[in-house]
Point group: C2
Chain length 238, copies 2
DNA sequence: CAGTGGTCTAGACCACAGT
DNA sequence: CTGTGGTCTAGACCACTGC
């Protein structure tokens, strides 16, 4: 039947199947490693590989001297994939256009500290950009970039290149934090997005760090219900 | 300095650090296993454990005969944790209250098929519930449960127990799909949430399956900007 | 063909938590 | 103390792939 999976993957799949199907409910004790060793005719390392992975993915809990137990599903975790806006638009089979509305270089104010964790007075680039799908504004991007962390941003005009793409190629990797909420479009936002005042908008804010230093804060505002974020349940291991 | 990490975790952290810091850019070849074996004075299995994990978490790519290479960051993935509403409210240090507004048992209409993938005519429970934080409505829950998949739901009144908690204990595990968007509250929703008509609301819709069969569709509507979804970047391994 | 990673073994020692 | 999982070793064979 199966296409000759490695032993540890077979063990993992078997156990996961029993948990997912409900045959082994939360709290159920999984056979000890040495029992599985006999059952699958393999060494303990192989069994351990499977069980460690199940533990890491949160399906089971392992306790010394007691054994391994099926965990209660806890916080629903979903993987949210956040794509590049251009890619997003083109996936809708609409022509994509980027437009820089404003670019400022200035010193950070106290108000900026809530958006990007820099000290007051440290240099920033502030960008306002629009992303179009066809003729309609698809997304308003308001961004701060810390010049202390990314000094190269001072020389970049962002007239042609969208800042997200530029940053991806420039700043190596990072930690990030997302916040998603709904707002009513205020006058300035409404005008830029060409929608009536007070239109419900989806706002995604993302803070990014590299090596502990703040890189950028971006606020993406999507008008109306034109945009949906889709996430699938975390399947974790495989 | 370090608190005596296991060797494989030290290797993993070292390599991840070099990738995340940018010292090893995308495309950079990671030392071969046998090289790391010498560097860390450990066996190949230990090195392999670290590298396999890095590969599984998507930071590196491994190719036989060629070696292991730093991957380009691809689609930004963030882990979105979706907690139980009661837990959420209590985390805000507010008293939580659950209230059932309406409970119906009926046959699925064609309109339901967009929400929950059942055949027309198959039996459903339809629930409308409110979750309160203090005296204010915090979240409106509109839910369909497929009685074909979860027949026990017919006997449950949901007067005291919120359906999410009940389902978690009843239906084993599942696949799920989330959609997040912003809407303007229509009259009925606005009245239930005690907000003005047209208030921007955050809507989370979740479809759940078990073993390929549809379990439930739930629409959670959070008024105004009272609610923020927070996601952190997927750090994967650790 | 040769070198890489993928997998596996049959041991071992240790830390830790129940008894 | 005992039994569990956590980690590690020093080998081994194989599959794949680039030369």
């Amino acid at each position: 039947m199966d296409a000759e999976l490695p032993i540890h993957q077979r063990i993992l799949a078997d156990i996961r199947g029993r948990i997912v199907s409900g045959a082994w409910p939360p709290g159920h004790r999984i056979p000890f490693e040495h029992e599985l060793t006999r059952e699958y005719q393999c060494s303990r390392m192989t069994v351990n590989k499977a069980l460690s992975q199940l533990a890491k993915s949160g399906l089971i809990e392992r306790r010394r001297k007691s054994g391994s137990f099926v965990k209660r599903p806890q916080s629903q975790a979903a993987i949210l994939e956040i794509h590049d806006i251009g890619t997003e638009v083109r996936a809708l089979r609409l022509p994509y256009r980027y437009e820089l509305v404003q670019r400022l270089v200035r010193a950070a104010t106290r108000a900026d500290r809530e958006r990007i964790a820099v000290t007051v007075g440290s240099p920033l680039v502030e960008l306002t950009c629009l992303h179009f799908a066809g003729v309609d504004p698809f997304c308003l991007e308001e961004r701060l970039i810390s010049l202390a962390t990314v000094p190269e941003a001072e020389a970049e005009g962002f007239g042609k290149t969208a800042p997200s793409a530029w940053l991806l190629g420039k700043v190596p990797w990072s930690a990030a934090e997302h916040a998603i909420r709904a707002i009513a479009a205020e006058a300035r936002v409404a005008k830029l997005l060409d929608v009536p005042n007070g239109t419900a908008c989806l706002v995604i804010e993302r803070r990014t760090w590299t090596d502990g230093k703040p890189v950028t804060h971006v606020r993406l505002t999507y008008p109306g219900d034109s945009h949906r974020l889709v996430a699938r349940f975390a399947p974790s291991d495989g």
